[in-house]
Every structure is written in structure tokens, then in C-alpha cells.
């Protein structure tokens, strides 16, 4: 399908403006929501052309010099290039630009087509796909000429792409889930337009995620986890050790509250706020007053709890089993006798800038009141030059959000601690739960160390585990869980004039657990879906979003296949009624269907569709 003319015009005009005349031109741009003769996945497919004689002999070398990670130097990189190679370089660059963030192994390719060449790449999320393509075209177009630096020419487009990836692309946990799904051949689709919400699997075998949370996480448990006071009362009811705590409302005496929970104590905003406004180990009234002032900047209602000595740990339980455990550490800088704290911090933050993978999954330290407070407790300022080897804390807690780091301690966790973490997740019915536990020794029983359980989180800071070196694929596979899978999809291709008859027959005989998508209608069991505005491919994905169906029949015309690509990337069976598809599309169907049949008789096609569906 051709993309919206506004999208095409915007990219084409931008290129014409930015590149020398006669250089790279965008001729066509199509979007396919399913496999095509060229690609096994949904792709953006474009056609590029250049004026004859307008080429540079060392285009690959120029690109490799500008983008060494995208174009590693290859021995034959000085060959003269044609249109096909230009398309390939563009597609490769677009895919790699996306993949530098996502690490999903996106597919790309190119082939000659008429006078020019076609390139395609997997886009995953439409708007960032266009941004990646624009940046790639600019870079390749610039490399094609004699003037200009491809990196400089495409810089502002690559910056826009980074912004696009931040806001319109999947977040890190969604990337992990998508990666796990691809390894297991489980389909993924975005829910609404929010890139943090994804559906994995289809129909009855689908699961919906928001970050790492899914519908396997119970709403009641989530409600309890969100309220730290209720959580603590629940822990106490369960006989699980948790610190004494109290709420401080505006106007209430916080010193009296501290006396009641006991010193030393911890003050934090009652509503969880990514570790902001937390002060630990408060052992005098003056520090307490400052801690309350700091916390109040993040919320009026505060929580005060007894501080228990030991290290903060975060235990990740998935599907009832402990999967990872890290000891949290407060971020520090180490003095060298030369640089000031300000400079040391800047150096630390340089390592931690950029997207998660580039920064080792660690957050930069924010220069704010909390930093000033933590410096003041250590009697230093930003101008202080700490002596060599002196460690200075740059955050109040080991919260990942505040720059905290982690050490993997999974092998050491005492069985009793493991059991209780798993039981807490079980009581809260959280499929994925991160449980905070304080102890002097994670390898000893709770009774021995007087360990304390603090709280449970529905959405763990998964970066904390990755920064501690916990295997990314291991966590991702567990997060996705066993539920998401495909349901069988049958594609019936028939000419337009037969559609009314076929639709009526199929609708009437559709089993309650089956869905039907045609270019004009959608039926889920006996439910005739009312909406009439969806295009054909959106009716297929729409039907696959219904949680009740165990199989789907798609009735399309040959032209629908050619326009949108195959309706899905894997077909249980395909039935072709009437004239065959164009050769290249017939081959694509062959590649993506487990079984292909030709039929001459509409009645037979209906029987086969329903029969195949029934036996699947």
C-alpha cells in the first residue's frame, strides 16, 4: 500500500532540498503490514533512483568512515555501485539505525526493479520507520556526491530519530519482550498508539503487556503494591517481617512519628516516586527536619519507617519463581586528588548518557536538592576535591532511578528468603514482581539477620538487573512467559464477485471460537462486529485482538494481498479460489503457508476453510 501522500511528499521534498540535484531521489514508498515477495515480515518498501553518471566510486568507503558501526569496513568496499546497491545501503542503514536502539535484528534487503531498485526494511513502529528512512537516504545521498560528510549531513535527522525512538518507539522492557517473542516466533503488535503497550500472540493465546506488567498481574495485588502502608499491613498480617512505619500528613509532628517508629529512620514520599525525596539512616532531629523538607517537594503525605541496617536487595519473581536477585548500591564517585566533585560527576554522567544500552543501563545522577543534601551530610560541596581513593556518595539511596547500581547475588539467596519473596508475589497475584528486602546477609535466614521486607513493585526497574549483568535474554524470555502464541490463520483468496456469497456462508457457519475477517466485515463467533470504517488489513489485526478466538479465517481478494502484503506472517493454510495470484505473490504465499490448495468451487472453498479451521 502506498503511504499517505503527505508522508511521501515530506520525505521526498526534504531530500530534494538537502541533496545536490541529480543525486538520490525517492521514487515510491509503500508500507506492507505483512510479508511480501521480498520480505518475510512487515516492511517499508521504497524505490530509489539517481541520474545516470551521478555516482561516487567510493560510496561504501565514505559511509564506513562516517558510520563504522553500521558499515564495518569490507574488503570489496570500493566497487562501483548501481541502483540496487544504493537501495541496499539505504535499507541497511535504516534498519541498523533502529536496531542500534532495539537490538532486535531487524531485516532489510534490496532487489533490482525496472530502471531503479527496491529496498525494504522492517520498521516495527511506523513513525520512527519514516524517520530512520529519511536519515538513511540523506546519509547515502550525501555519500553519493563528492561534497559533504554523510554523518554531518544526516545529523539533525538522526537526532530527530533519537527523539522519535524515545517517545514513539518501544521502551526497554517492551524491546526485551519483542526480542523474546521474535526468538520464539510469537507475533507482536502494538496496542493503541502507545509504544509501551504491546500484545503478544493472537486471540485466545494473546497476552497484553504494559511495560513488564501484563494481565497476568492482578489488579488487586497491584493496588496493594502501590500503597506502601497497606502493603506493610498486609506483610504483617502474613507474619512477614517489615519495618514499623507511619504516615505523616501535613501539620503532623514528624519528630513524634520518628520516636514512635524508632531511630534511625527513613523518610520518603508516601506515593512511590522513583526514589525521589528519600533519606535513609536518619539519626538526629536536624537531619530528620531536612529529610522531611526534601520529601515534601515530592508529595505532601510522607512515610516514615524504622531504618534497618543492611543492604537493599531487589528480588525479581516471575510466574512464582525467583528469577534474579541483586544487591543495590548507592552510586559513588572516587576522588583522585585532582578533580572536583563537579568534574567527577560530569565524568560519571558522560559514561551514562544516551539510550539504555549505550549507558550500561545506568541512569545519570541528577544535580538537584537531593544531591546537595547528600553532599552536605558528607560535609562536601561540588567544588570539593576529594583526596585520592575517597568514596563520595552521590545519591541518598540505591534506587536505580537515582543512579544506583546492582550486583548479582542470585546464587546466594537463602531458601527462606526465596520462599517468602515467591509467596509475596503469590499473595499479590503478581506474575512479575520486584520485592525489596533489606538484610546484612542475603545468604542467611531471615531470623538470623533480622531481614526486613519493604515493598513490592508491579513494574520492576528491569535496567537495574541488566546493569548488574543479569542475562538479558534469560530475563526477557521469562517476562514474556509461556502464554503468548499464535492461533491458526486460514487465508481464502477469492475474486471480488464471489465475496458476498462466501461471506454469507462463512458468517452463518462460523464456530463460536472462530473469527472471520473480510475486506468489508469482521465477525467474532456469532458477534457481528459493527464498525465499518476499518481497512482490510486492520480488520485482520482487529480480529486477532479478540481474546476469545482460537482460529481466524481471512477472506481476501487477490488485490488485497498485493496491496497490503499477506494478512499475517504465518498462515496455517491458504486456499486460492479462481485465478491464481501473480507469480511472485503466489510464491510468497507458498513460503508463508503451511499448506496451499487451489479450489474451483466456492462451496468447496467454504468447506475447506471451515474444515481446515476445524481440524487445526
Amino acid at each position: 500500500m502506498k503511504v499517505e501522500p503527505t508522508v511521501f511528499d515530506q520525505i521526498a521534498r526534504f531530500l530534494a532540498r538537502s541533496l545536490p540535484e541529480g543525486s538520490l531521489r525517492l521514487e515510491t514508498l509503500e508500507i506492507f503490514s505483512g510479508p511480501t515477495p521480498n520480505a518475510a515480515v512487515p516492511t517499508l518498501q521504497f524505490q530509489v533512483a539517481t541520474d545516470p553518471g551521478f555516482h561516487h566510486s567510493n560510496i561504501v568507503g565514505r559511509l564506513a568512515a562516517s558510520f563504522p558501526k553500521i558499515f564495518p569496513a569490507e574488503p570489496d568496499s570500493n566497487v562501483l555501485v548501481g541502483a540496487e546497491a544504493l537501495a541496499a545501503l539505504t535499507a541497511r542503514m535504516a534498519a541498523r539505525l533502529l536496531d542500534q536502539r532495539w537490538a532486535l535484528g531487524l531485516q532489510w534487503g534490496a532487489a533490482p526493479s525496472g530502471d531503479g531498485a527496491l529496498g525494504w526494511f522492517e520498521y516495527l513502529v511506523e513513525p520512527v520507520g519514516y524517520q530512520a528512512l529519511t536519515a538513511a537516504l540523506l546519509a547515502v545521498g550525501t555519500a553519493l556526491g563528492d561534497e559533504g560528510d554523510p554523518a554531518a549531513a544526516s545529523r539533525s535527522q538522526r537526532t530527530s530519530l533519537e527523539h522519535g525512538l524515545d517517545h514513539a518507539g518501544p521502551d526497554l522492557s517492551s524491546q526485551l519482550l519483542i526480542g523474546a517473542a521474535r526468538r520464539r516466533d510469537v507475533p507482536a503488535m502494538m496496542i493503541t498508539r502507545n509504544p509501551t503497550m504491546w500484545q503478544f500472540g493472537w486471540g485466545k493465546h494473546s497476552e497484553r503487556f504494559w511495560f513488564t506488567a501484563s494481565n497476568g498481574d492482578g489488579m488487586v495485588g497491584n493496588r496493594i503494591a502501590l500503597d506502601k502502608e497497606v502493603s506493610k499491613r498486609v506483610f504483617r498480617q502474613l507474619g512477614i517481617p517489615t519495618p514499623r512505619s507511619q504516615i505523616i500528613r501535613p501539620g503532623e509532628d514528624h519528630r513524634a512519628a520518628a520516636n514512635s517508629v524508632g531511630w534511625p529512620c527513613v523518610v520518603k514520599p508516601a506515593t512511590p516516586g522513583k526514589g525521589a525525596g528519600v533519606t535513609i539512616a536518619i539519626d538526629d532531629a536536624a537531619t530528620l527536619d531536612r529529610a522531611v523538607g526534601l520529601a515534601r517537594k515530592h508529595g505532601n503525605i510522607l512515610s516514615i519507617e524504622a531504618h534497618h541496617p543492611g543492604d537493599d536487595h531487589r528480588l525479581l519473581v516471575i510466574d512464582g519463581t525467583l528469577v534474579a536477585a541483586v544487591r543495590k548500591r548507592i552510586a559513588t564517585v572516587v576522588g583522585d586528588g585532582k578533580r572536583s566533585l563537579d568534574q567527577l560527576l560530569a565524568a560519571l554522567n558522560r559514561q551514562r548518557s544516551g539510550p539504555p544500552r549505550a549507558s550500561g543501563f545506568l541512569r545519570p545522577i541528577q544535580d538537584d536538592d537531593a544531591l546537595a543534601a547528600v553532599f552536605s551530610r558528607q560535609e562536601v560541596t561540588k567544588a570539593t576535591i576529594p583526596e585520592p581513593g575517597r568514596k563520595v556518595r552521590v545519591a541518598t539511596t540505591g534506587s536505580w532511578w537515582r543512579g544506583g547500581t546492582g550486583t548479582d547475588v542470585f546464587e546466594k539467596v537463602h531458601p527462606q528468603v526465596r520462599l517468602l519473596a515467591e509467596q509475596i508475589a503469590g499473595v499479590l497475584k503478581l506474575r512479575v514482581a520486584a520485592i525489596d528486602y533489606v538484610t546484612r546477609d542475603i545468604g542467611a535466614s531471615i531470623d538470623e539477620t533480622e531481614g526486613m521486607f519493604l515493598e513490592a513493585h508491579t513494574v520492576p526497574a528491569i535496567e537495574l538487573f541488566l546493569s548488574a549483568g543479569v542475562d538479558e535474554q534469560h530475563i526477557a524470555d521469562r517476562l514474556l512467559g509461556p502464554k503468548p502464541a499464535r492461533i491458526p490463520v486460514t487465508l481464502l483468496i477469492a475474486p471480488d464477485e464471489l465475496h458476498e456469497k462466501l461471506t454469507n456462508e462463512l458468517r452463518q457457519r462460523l464456530p463460536e471460537t472462530a473469527g472471520l475477517a473480510t475486506p468489508e466485515a469482521m465477525q467474532i463467533g456469532s458477534f457481528s462486529v459493527p464498525e465499518s470504517r476499518l481497512p482490510p488489513h486492520a480488520r485482520v489485526t482487529g480480529a486477532l485482538r479478540y481474546a476469545t478466538i482460537e482460529r481466524l479465517i481471512v477472506l481476501w481478494r487477490p488485490e488485497d494481498v498485493v496491496t497490503y502484503g499477506l494478512p499475517v506472517d504465518a498462515l496455517d493454510s491458504a486456499i486460492v479460489l479462481g485465478p491464481p495470484l501473480p507469480d511472485e505473490w503466489a510464491m510468497a504465499v507458498d513460503r508463508h503457508a503451511r499448506e496451499v490448495r487451489s479450489c474451483a468451487d466456492p462451496d468447496e472453498a467454504v468447506e475447506v476453510s471451515l474444515g481446515t479451521a476445524a481440524s487445526a
Binding site: 496496542i191 493503541t192 498508539r193 502507545n194 503497550m197 497484553r208 504494559w210 506488567a213 501484563s214 494481565n215 497476568g216 498481574d217 492482578g218 489488579m219 488487586v220 495485588g221 497491584n222 493496588r223 496493594i224 500503597d227 497497606v230 502493603s231 499491613r233 498486609v234 504483617r236 498480617q237 502474613l238 507474619g239 512477614i240 517481617p241 531458601p415 527462606q416 520462599l419 517468602l420 509467596q423 503469590g426 499473595v427 497475584k429 535466614s445 531470623d447 531481614g451 508491579t458 467474532i524 463467533g525 456469532s526 458477534f527 457481528s528 462486529v529 459493527p530 464498525e531 470504517r533 476499518l534 486492520a538 480488520r539 489485526t541 482487529g542 485482538r545 479478540y546 481474546a547 476469545t548
Partner: protein, 614 residues
């Protein structure tokens, strides 16, 4: 459990302030956390003594009828003549305490009383939480004492003690939906436990057969479902993807030019915050730019995210789906009045609100406010207009129950396509229980015929009001509880202290996976739980909260039995080692245990507890 001596003395003194101890004296108060010889349920039991001639029953009852017409609907009359005695006084205390708790906590509290030796009698009220039960007992005791002492005068104690009781009850009163669920659990003989002392969080059933509820939501309702329903724009986007009808909408940017947006959406339109519930900040039936601007600023007062939505003509319906099936369908109509040719609009509204404030109806009064005046204005009337006979005037553009709307059950007339639409949407979002707001001109006809649109999906399905109003059957709450909750077997071994260590070792050693056991310790399968401050009873309750527990074994002694009552209201097995309990306790154990054995050897007792599958 005995209450503290200081607390008891204070209570006795408060009573003495209103009634001479020679007339009525509090002898003892004890609380049983489980079934006990006096009641099959957790109860607070008070023992009183009356030792002087008391006023006639009739006069006391007349006084109570005057003070609490709803709790004591009948006056003394002629039949109940004769002086009060201890048993009568205890009965009145029990009834007053039980009725006050029932009214204030909205759960039916059981109560009882009995004559004891001589001039003593005891009253018994069901125990839910410590503060409320004790406060209710104190209040009833003092109020009855005061009325015995001075039956003819209006008492002062009401003014002092009712606010205290209100406060104690407010802290533990389940919210409306929870109390409907608790009532259903009681009808079905299912156990329930409060979670984290939160009024909206309840567990029904035990161990592997437990389910937690937050309002009407359970853990079968997913976190993502809630996220999808929380933002109305997200819900509407999902509806579009599913091919389900929802009125056109736009999320308003700060920069949006209202006239242009309004012209693409069309008039009339609706403005609402995208992520607030309960009709907060919603303006409907907007027909001009000035009203639109006011509506947008009203909505922005509640949320950054404001959406403008095309008006969907028709009536408002709430469709509640449970476990994939439509379980409730009601039509909500805006509050309205009908003219009689004599009274003004203002007088008709006052009459309507008087009737609604009487307490006999589930309908709420309609506030006379700007919104009402604007609504009246748009119908070309004001408060002073005398309405012609039969002329209907709307008082609100929206039909929210909270602002006085009326409700009609329509479940039997919902068109199958609309029913399936609701059921499919609920499943696609990941809800077990959801309340879908749907607008249509005719619920009996399909969307294909008459159109209609989904407005939003609510996680709190809102069934409690219609149950209370008997518009839909109270069995609806049982449907919400579903089949899952139930009891797990609890076996109790009562053993003398000298055998506890030996039996404990055996139980801990041989405890199968999935089983839990507790004495002075607690263990799940092969692993000990950490030491805690819980007592015997608290430890038993704690283990019934763990979802992995398939069976619970308890090692108690006679003292804990006498102190707490039974650890659970029904026991799969009881084994008594050594000394027999007092006769009334033995009788209770026999009634409440599916099987009861007495043995003399510790090893045998432990083995009996570990036998599976009784």
C-alpha cells in the same frame, strides 16, 4: 481475648456516669476471634448484673422507639409491661449494638443474649474489628443504662457517644461494593478476611481457594486492563481497533483551536477529563463555543488530558460483564420532574428531594446548583416557572446516579449484538468484571439498526446500589464472587504443653509441599516462616492468606482455644491429645469438626493430622 484492665475500668466508669452501678453494672467483657460456646461466630460477649428494681420495659422501649425510630420501629405498647430484668437489659443492649453496627458498617451483624445465674445476663455481638465492636458495645451499654436510669428524659449520651461510634465504624466500614460481596459471601457460607485493614480490600475463601477483591475487582482482572480503561481516549482507540463503535473524539492540546476542533467533532458535544471517573468534570450537551470554553476549563481543572467527544444520541446504559457473560444491564436516566400545572419548578425539585432524603429510597437528592440552572435554562424554564401538567423537565444533562439519576433494569431486553459487544470488549481488555457505559436509542435493537456507542469502561462495575435498591437480584454479588472461593481443610490438634515439642518436630519433618502448619512456629512445606509477633490465632489466619496453602494443620493447646475460640469456623478434623476440653467447648468442637478423635499418644496424634484426604 480479654480487654485490658484499664480499658475495662474506663468503660465501667463511663457507664457509671449515666447509670448507678447499683442499677446496672458491667461485670466482664471478652472477645472471641472464632466460634465459641456462646456463638458460632466471632463475638464480643459482655456480662452484666442488675441488682435493683428497674423501670417497666414499656417505658424503656417507648424511649428507644423515640430515639431510634428506625432501629426500634415499635413503641412499648401494652404487651411488654412489667419491670425490666437482667435478661431484658442484655437483650436490649445486644439489639441496640447489633443494629447500630449493622447500620453503620452496612454488614448484617448477628447478636444474641442469654440469662445467666441470679441477676446476671450476657449480651453477644458479632465481632468484625476490635475498635468498632468495643465502641458499639460501650455505646449500647451506656445508652441503655441512661434510659434505665432516666427513662423519661432525652439522654445526653447520644450526642457524646454516637460521633465516637461513627468514627470507629467509618474506619472499618467496607465500601458499598465490598459490603454487597460480604453479604453474598455470608449467604453462601464463605469465609472472608479484611486485607491490610483497608475498607475496600477483602479476601473471600482461604489458601488456594481464596480470591482477593478490591471493590468489585479481583486479581483475575488484569493490570493492563485497568491501564486500558483508565484513560478514556485509550479505551476509545482500542474500541476502534476492535471495530467497536465509539463516538468520534479528539484529545485537546493546549494549542488546539476550539472552534476548529468543535466543527470537526460536530455539535452538540461532550467534554471530559480523559482520566477521571465518577462524572467528575464532565459537561454534556454543549451547543456553542462559549459553553465549550467553560466546559474545557472545568475539565482542565481535573486533568491535563481533556477530550472532546461527539454527542451520541440516546439513553445511557451500564452493561456489567462477569466472566465473559452479561450479568447486569441498567438504563440510567437523568433526574427529571413532571409538571402538575400548579407548582413551580423550584417547588417540584424541593418535593423530589424531600422524598429522596427520607432514607427509604436509594435515589440521591439532586443538588440545586449552577449545572441545574443551566440545564433548566436550556429547556427555557427556571426555578420560578410553573410547569404545565404532564410536562417533563430534565434537571441534569447526565444520568450519573451520584447526582440523582434514576435506574431501570433492562437485562432481559438487551439485543444479542449489544450483549456480545460488551462481552467481547471485556475479554479483549482482560477484565473478569467490568462495567461498560453504552449509549443507544434502543437497547432492544442491534447497533446495525439504531447505532450507539461505547463511552467508557469502568473497573468498578457499580452493582451495589442496584442490589440494595432491589432493582437487580442480590445473587448478582454471588456471580461476582464466582466459583473459585472456598475453604481449604483445617485440622486442629489440641495437645498439652509437654507434648508440643515432640509433635511439632514430627509435623515439621513430614509436612508435605502445599501444606502449612503452625504452632508457636509456622511452616510452609519444607521451609520455616520467620518468627513473627503474631499470636496463635493470627498465625492461623496468616497462613489462610497464602495462596499456595492447600491444607492447614494447627497445633494448639487448651489455653489458646479458650482464649481465641476456634481458629476457623469449620474444621476438617480435630484431634485431642490428653486432657479433654470443658464440656461446652468439647460440644462446640464436635459440632464444628467433620471428625473428632481423642488419643493418648503424641505420635499417634501427629500421624492423624498428617493423614491426607479425609
Amino acid at each position: 481475648v480479654k480487654i485490658g484492665q484499664a480499658q475495662f475500668d474506663k468503660l465501667a466508669q463511663m457507664l457509671a456516669d449515666f447509670c448507678p452501678p447499683g442499677m446496672l453494672r458491667l461485670v466482664d467483657i471478652e472477645i472471641f476471634l472464632g466460634p465459641n460456646p456462646h456463638a458460632d461466630f466471632a463475638a464480643l460477649r459482655g456480662l452484666i448484673e442488675t441488682s435493683r428494681a428497674l423501670p417497666p420495659k414499656r417505658r424503656v422501649l417507648d424511649r428507644l422507639h423515640q430515639d431510634f425510630p428506625r432501629l426500634f420501629p415499635h413503641s412499648g405498647g401494652d404487651k411488654s409491661d412489667g419491670p425490666c430484668d437482667a435478661a431484658t437489659v442484655a437483650a436490649l443492649i445486644a439489639k441496640l449494638a447489633g443494629a447500630l453496627l449493622t447500620e453503620k458498617i452496612t454488614v448484617d451483624f448477628r447478636f444474641d443474649s442469654s440469662a445467666e445465674d441470679g441477676s446476671r445476663a450476657s449480651f453477644l455481638i458479632e465481632f468484625l474489628t476490635h475498635t468498632s465492636s468495643l465502641q458499639a458495645a460501650a455505646t449500647a451499654l451506656i445508652l441503655i443504662g441512661e434510659r434505665l436510669a432516666v427513662p423519661e428524659a432525652a439522654g445526653e449520651a447520644i450526642g457524646t457517644y454516637m460521633p465516637l461510634l461513627d468514627k470507629a465504624c467509618a474506619q472499618c466500614r467496607p465500601n458499598n461494593e465490598s459490603s454487597a460481596l460480604i453479604a453474598a459471601a455470608r449467604r453462601q457460607d464463605l469465609p472472608y478476611l479484611q486485607i491490610g485493614q483497608d475498607i475496600a480490600l477483602w479476601q473471600i475463601g482461604w489458601g488456594v481457594r481464596s480470591e482477593q477483591y478490591w471493590v468489585s475487582a479481583s486479581n483475575v482482572d488484569g493490570v493492563v486492563a485497568r491501564r486500558l480503561s483508565f484513560n478514556k481516549a485509550t479505551t476509545k482507540q482500542l474500541c476502534r481497533q476492535l471495530g467497536l463503535p465509539t463516538p468520534d473524539w479528539r484529545l485537546l492540546d493546549a494549542a488546539d483551536e476550539l472552534p476548529r476542533v468543535a466543527s470537526t467533532i460536530g455539535w452538540p458535544c461532550v467534554v471530559k477529563p480523559a482520566d477521571r471517573g465518577g462524572g467528575v468534570g464532565v459537561s454534556a450537551d454543549i451547543r456553542d463555543i462559549a459553553t465549550l470554553e467553560r466546559a474545557v476549563s472545568l475539565a482542565r481543572g481535573h486533568s491535563r488530558r481533556v477530550l472532546i467527544e461527539a454527542h451520541e444520541p440516546g439513553d445511557d446504559y451500564r452493561l456489567m460483564v462477569v466472566d465473559g457473560r452479561l450479568a447486569m444491564a441498567i438504563r440510567l436516566d437523568p433526574p427529571h420532574i413532571i409538571g402538575d400545572g400548579e407548582r413551580t419548578v423550584g417547588e417540584l425539585v424541593a418535593a423530589l428531594n424531600d422524598a429522596r432524603e427520607g432514607g427509604e429510597t436509594y435515589l440521591l437528592p439532586v443538588p440545586v446548583d449552577d449545572m441545574m440552572l443551566t440545564t433548566l435554562n436550556s429547556q427555557a424554564v427556571d426555578l420560578a416557572t410553573i410547569l404545565p401538567e404532564g410536562k417533563a423537565v430534565k434537571l441534569r444533562t447526565n444520568s450519573n446516579h451520584a447526582t440523582g439519576g434514576t435506574i431501570t433494569d433492562v437485562i432481559d431486553t438487551v439485543h444479542p449484538q449489544v450483549r456480545r459487544l460488551a462481552e467481547q470488549l471485556t475479554a479483549a481488555m482482560g477484565f473478569r468484571v467490568a462495567g461498560i457505559d453504552y449509549v443507544t436509542r434502543d437497547i432492544r435493537r442491534s447497533h446495525d439498526e439504531v447505532g450507539g456507542g461505547i463511552i467508557e469502561v469502568n473497573t468498578t462495575a457499580g452493582f451495589e446500589v442496584v442490589i440494595k435498591a432491589q432493582i437487580v437480584p442480590e445473587t448478582l454479588a454471588e456471580v461476582v464472587i464466582g466459583d473459585r472461593p472456598g475453604r481449604v481443610p483445617v485440622a486442629l490438634l489440641i495437645a498439652p504443653s509437654e507434648s508440643q515439642a515432640e509433635i511439632g518436630d514430627v509435623l515439621r519433618d513430614r509436612l508435605p509441599r502445599g501444606w502449612a502448619a503452625a504452632g508457636d512456629w509456622a511452616r510452609m512445606g519444607p521451609i520455616d516462616l520467620p518468627a513473627s509477633k503474631l499470636d496463635h490465632f493470627g498465625r492461623a489466619q496468616a497462613l489462610l492468606r497464602y495462596p499456595g496453602v492447600e491444607r492447614l494443620l494447627l497445633l494448639w493447646n487448651l489455653d489458646s482455644l479458650y482464649e481465641f475460640g476456634l481458629p476457623a469456623d469449620s474444621l476438617a478434623r480435630t484431634v485431642i491429645l490428653g486432657e479433654a476440653p470443658k464440656a461446652d467447648w468439647l460440644g462446640l468442637l464436635e459440632r464444628r469438626s467433620a471428625r473428632l478423635d481423642r488419643v493418648g499418644v503424641a505420635a499417634e496424634a501427629a500421624a492423624m493430622l498428617l493423614e491426607a484426604g479425609e
